[in-house]
Symmetry: C2
Subunit: 231 residues, 2 copies
Amino acid sequence: MAELTPTEPARAAADAVRVVVVDDDALVRASLRMILGGDPRLEVVAECADGAEAVTVVQRLRPDVVLMDVRMPRVDGLTALRSLAAAGSPARVIVLTTFDADELVLRALREGAAGFLLKDTPPAQLVDGIHRVAAGEPILSPTVTAQLIASVAKPEDAERRAAALRALEPLTPRERDVAIAVAEGLSNQEIGERLYLGVATVKTHVAHLFAKLGVANRVQIARLVHDAGLG
Amino acid sequence: MAELTPTEPARAAADAVRVVVVDDDALVRASLRMILGGDPRLEVVAECADGAEAVTVVQRLRPDVVLMDVRMPRVDGLTALRSLAAAGSPARVIVLTTFDADELVLRALREGAAGFLLKDTPPAQLVDGIHRVAAGEPILSPTVTAQLIASVAKPEDAERRAAALRALEPLTPRERDVAIAVAEGLSNQEIGERLYLGVATVKTHVAHLFAKLGVANRVQIARLVHDAGLG
DNA sequence: GACCCGCTCCGCCCAAAGGTGGACCCGGCG
DNA sequence: CGCCGGGTCCACCTTTGGGCGGAGCGGGTC
């Protein structure tokens, strides 16, 4: 057994997950520290009150996990998250927020957050989540998961796609070829070269496309093709 | 078939979550029944061996939760899921699969799955997941969550968007207006009417767009505008 | 003041796109 | 067989798009 240095919390295990807590509210920090302190396999190695501080501290201390608030003065959590990702920090960041703003969730995950928890998460689940994140698992609050699912399900999106596919369905194979080429921004001349057709033939197909799709110009053909997911 | 008479499992609580198990493998069904049987607050009210059976059984028994395998003879799990959703069934469906095929995950969630678990999920978590789903929470296996996050994060997607935004950034406000109108498939004439401009002015702006964006025709302007997310 | 820049508009010209009508080949079908 | 539809191509025409140069106006800067 190694002797413990007197300055360190005696209860942290040697292989504890090292955590940095970032929140502008001292009460929240204290509360989190108390929750995490209950688990000897977690060690809070630092607290920060804003994003700028967090970036420098995390780069120096190299913690395993960062609990990051979103709303903070000076530099907000998402910006800090981006900075860390850009700097190649291996720390896994759990974003904490009081409200589950849809937009925030997607942005945070795009910026590389490993987790997204609401502040009303029960202490036991928070502790569990930190361990999971440290182990490489992603961890999301249920409402966040639901939002994420909704964002990929998007019934309105599916409808547009379905409508576009329906519109493109009566096209002949050749017309489809031409439609796709049009959607790529090629001229009739270029389309002819790609498909080994005369310009006149391409024009004929494009004319049919206008009629069948009920549109007036090639940009609108491109819109349909893209909506159908063929671009 | 294999509908169970309520007399058999005497242990199910009166307010138990009613579950239907759907899997073509009898061993898997038996195993699931054993796992769920360990919790008196769960009641397996029926087992089905394929999707077609599942649809009729679920509509008749109206269970709270359905554990649905994906790969099954005759009617697969996703098709059954769609049928149930189309029929307005309130049953919450957890899709079970051995492998975490990316494509399957997105399809299942789009079809309205309330959860997506891998078959290697520990029994305790499976039971917990069923209760959560019954309570209205979504429930995903960690690897599935990771896939979902990856599908919204899509670095390649973000890059394209960022590149498009970068390309559009040096445009003047007016040019941006014109670019968006072009992307909607309007003619120069129509753009002029919308923005109270002469056709000549619109042409000037469009010419500037070609130069600044490095493209040769309006379809390609439309592509950029869409990639930037302004469409 | 001179200057640059964004915005507006003009005219001229040519190329490309789009509209119309017709032609031929070929393969499937009644 | 004749008929039809997809695919290929043509000619002719009008409209639109796109290239080029020029110009005036307002606001901001040096």
